[in-house]
């Protein structure tokens, strides 16, 4: 087995004439929380969708956990079983309760689990995500934004994936809720040995839980590395990002 979680070579993504990524290279090791930052429209979400095989890129080669992603059909069970995704607002299925939502991946890839066992594992994931047991039988519309994110996280963790993708998990949460979510993520990452691909605008999240930071801009990866190296990187956007008033405040606390 390879030690690399994600390996991208020469990725090209285009929307019509608009080029989002051009010759983007990125390698990420296993077992770390990687924060992905970049200006609005720099293609963070497009990159995530490309890695997940949701959007076939116009060029380049993507390997996830040592297997190629490009050009394979949707039914690649290896990728689906070894990765979990938390979309921005949870993307919970609105017609199902929280527990049923978490059971969906278990049903799809669970290999003959009985309904009792499925329920048992789903309940475990929901409680690991810090939700009360009473939330199991609630519908997504009955939950607050923070609880929806936790429920989405529980569903992403349903199959104990090696790789976890999070798209702005703390956006729309209050500072206390965001800090709790960060703690939860760190705890789960250590307990389950996850590799986390975390798109975020939240500087506090970057400073408190991320082992590595990837900065995306100018259609490529500007720099990768631990936070203290990245924030010294000589690029106007990076300097403005980390040394603006918000960046300074977050660094003081972090």
């Amino acid at each position: 087995m390879t030690d690399l979680a994600i390996e991208i070579r020469g990725l090209v993504n285009r929307f019509g004439n608009q080029i989002v990524h051009e010759n983007l290279d990125l390698t990420l090791p296993r077992g770390q929380i990687v924060g992905v930052v970049g200006g609005s429209g720099s293609g963070k979400s497009v990159l995530m969708r490309a890695i997940l095989g949701l959007r076939p890129p116009q060029g380049g080669d993507i390997q996830v956990l040592g297997r190629p992603v490009t050009g394979i059909p949707d039914r690649d069970t290896h990728l689906r079983e070894s990765s979990g995704v938390l979309f921005q607002d949870g993307a919970l299925f609105s017609s199902l309760t929280v527990a049923e939502n978490v059971e969906v991946p278990l049903k799809a890839h669970g290999r003959g689990l009985t309904s009792v066992l499925r329920r048992q594992f789903a309940t475990l994931k929901i409680r690991l995500s810090g939700l009360p047991l009473a939330a199991c039988d609630k519908y997504p519309s009955e939950l607050s934004g923070g609880m929806r994110k936790r429920a989405g996280l529980a569903r992403a963790l349903a199959l104990d994936p090696d790789l976890l993708f999070l798209d702005e998990p703390t956006a729309g949460l209050d500072p206390i809720g965001a800090a709790e979510f960060d703690d939860l993520l760190k705890t789960l990452q250590q307990a389950l040995g996850l590799t986390v691909f975390l798109i975020t605008h939240d500087l506090d999240t970057l400073y408190t839980i991320c082992d590595q930071v990837v900065v995306i801009g100018e259609r490529r990866v500007l720099t990768v590395g631990p936070l203290n190296e990245v924030e010294r990187f000589d690029h106007p956007w990076v300097q403005q990002y980390f040394h603006g008033p918000r960046g300074r405040a977050a660094r003081r606390q972090g």
Partner: protein, 369 residues
């Protein structure tokens, strides 16, 4: 690639059993069955030989250990599995605080009760909604600058003019069908001419306005609900309120007034189209020329037949607009709720239109019109 999970006795180590293989969700089904059937007498479990452990496996292992009556400390684990195992045990051993789930029969009764209460609450809401609309309407009656003229004209075009081809075509076809049906029965009695009476009575009194109302209930009530519902779910209605405007003036009144104007006109179009359909069938397949059809019509039809039909038009307009708008306001936060409310608006308005029409038919027959 991953070996199945196993649990074996290790004879050389006394009453100690060794767990090995990969204890993951992949193998959980078989593993759970094996563990449930296992009745063993052990002191310790050596889990250091486990290659892969995930939270499902950790839960099964911890529950198994507890069922054997062993202390969780007696499980020997690899260092990198310890954190996961502890996290799972911690969460799993907290007392569950689950609210009891009811049986199917009780749930069914609960459902019946809920729908009954919902029905009466809906009725009360509808009356309240109607009252608020009328109150708002009276309030701005004396402030012409607040009249939503532009919006009203827009909705007259949307609900009236744009629906006219559809209403005319469908009424024309139904008129033709009614004439055909009448002809097949009346021909046996040599009374083909009465097809004229049948078609005119049916369309002036009932079908013209009823068809229009049903078409508009499907076409317009759903549109009202979807429009207002989308605004509600994106908090646009709250925005209107915080700016100090009245959503009833901006959203409900224009739609109601537009429908009050458009529906009678459309009903008139439907009557004419239906009669035209009947006339066409009569002249081509019953040998009743158009002139004879019109003569017979003016000889038998009285004004009150037309009025019986038209007097229902504003009532139907009121029902369709009120139900459509109110369901829109009932939309909650989700996209799914917009769909649910739209369906409910169409079902409710069609049902109410037909019920009102039936009651009106009884009433007008009783008073001899």
């Amino acid at each position: 690639m991953s070996s199945p999970p196993q649990l074996d006795a290790s004879p050389d180590r006394g009453r100690c059993w060794t767990a090995s293989g990969s204890w993951t969700v992949r193998h959980a089904a078989a593993l759970s069955e094996t563990l449930d059937q296992l009745r063993i007498d052990v002191e310790r479990i050596d889990a250091t030989q486990i290659e892969r452990l995930d939270s499902a496996g950790a839960q099964l292992l911890s529950r198994f250990v507890r069922r054997l009556g062993l202390d969780l400390d007696t499980v020997e684990l690899r260092e990198d599995h310890r954190a996961l195992f502890d996290a799972v045990v911690d969460v799993d051993s907290r007392p569950p605080s689950e609210g009891g789930r009811n049986g199917a029969l009780i749930a069914w009764f609960e459902g019946v009760g809920r729908s009954t209460i919902d029905f009466f609450q809906d009725l009360r809401l509808l009356l309240g909604f109607l009252g608020q609309t009328i109150a708002t309407g009276v309030l701005i009656l004396f402030h012409p600058h607040r009249w939503p003229v532009t919006a009203t004209v827009h909705h007259i075009q949307q609900t009236g003019l744009n629906a006219m081809p559809l209403v005319a075509l469908l009424s024309f076809l139904v008129g033709a069908v009614v004439a055909f049906l009448g002809a097949t029965v009346l021909r046996d009695f040599g009374a083909e001419l009465f097809v004229v009476d049948l078609t005119t009575y049916a369309f002036l009194r009932e079908f013209g306005v009823l068809l229009t109302a049903i078409i508009l209930a499907g076409r317009t009530a759903s549109a009202f609900t979807a429009q207002i519902g989308t605004m509600k779910s994106r908090e646009e209605i709250d925005a209107i309120r915080t700016i100090g405007l009245d959503p009833f003036v901006l959203l409900v009144l224009p739609r109601l007034i537009a429908l009050l104007i458009a529906l009678p006109i459309l009903a008139l179009v439907a009557m004419v189209a239906g009669l035209a359909g009947g006339m066409l069938v009569s002249s081509f397949s019953l040998d009743i020329p158009g002139q004879l059809f019109l003569d017979r019509m003016s000889a038998t039809v009285q004004l009150h037949h037309f009025l019986v039909g038209m007097v229902k038009a504003p009532l139907f307009a009121l029902v369709i607009a009120m139900v459509g708008c109110m369901e829109g306001f009932k939309v909650g936060g989700t996209a799914q709720s917009v769909g649910e409310r739209t369906t409910s608006a169409v079902v409710q308005s069609i049902a109410m239109v037909i019920v009102i029409d039936a009651l009106a038919a009884v009433f007008f027959t009783e008073i001899g019109w």
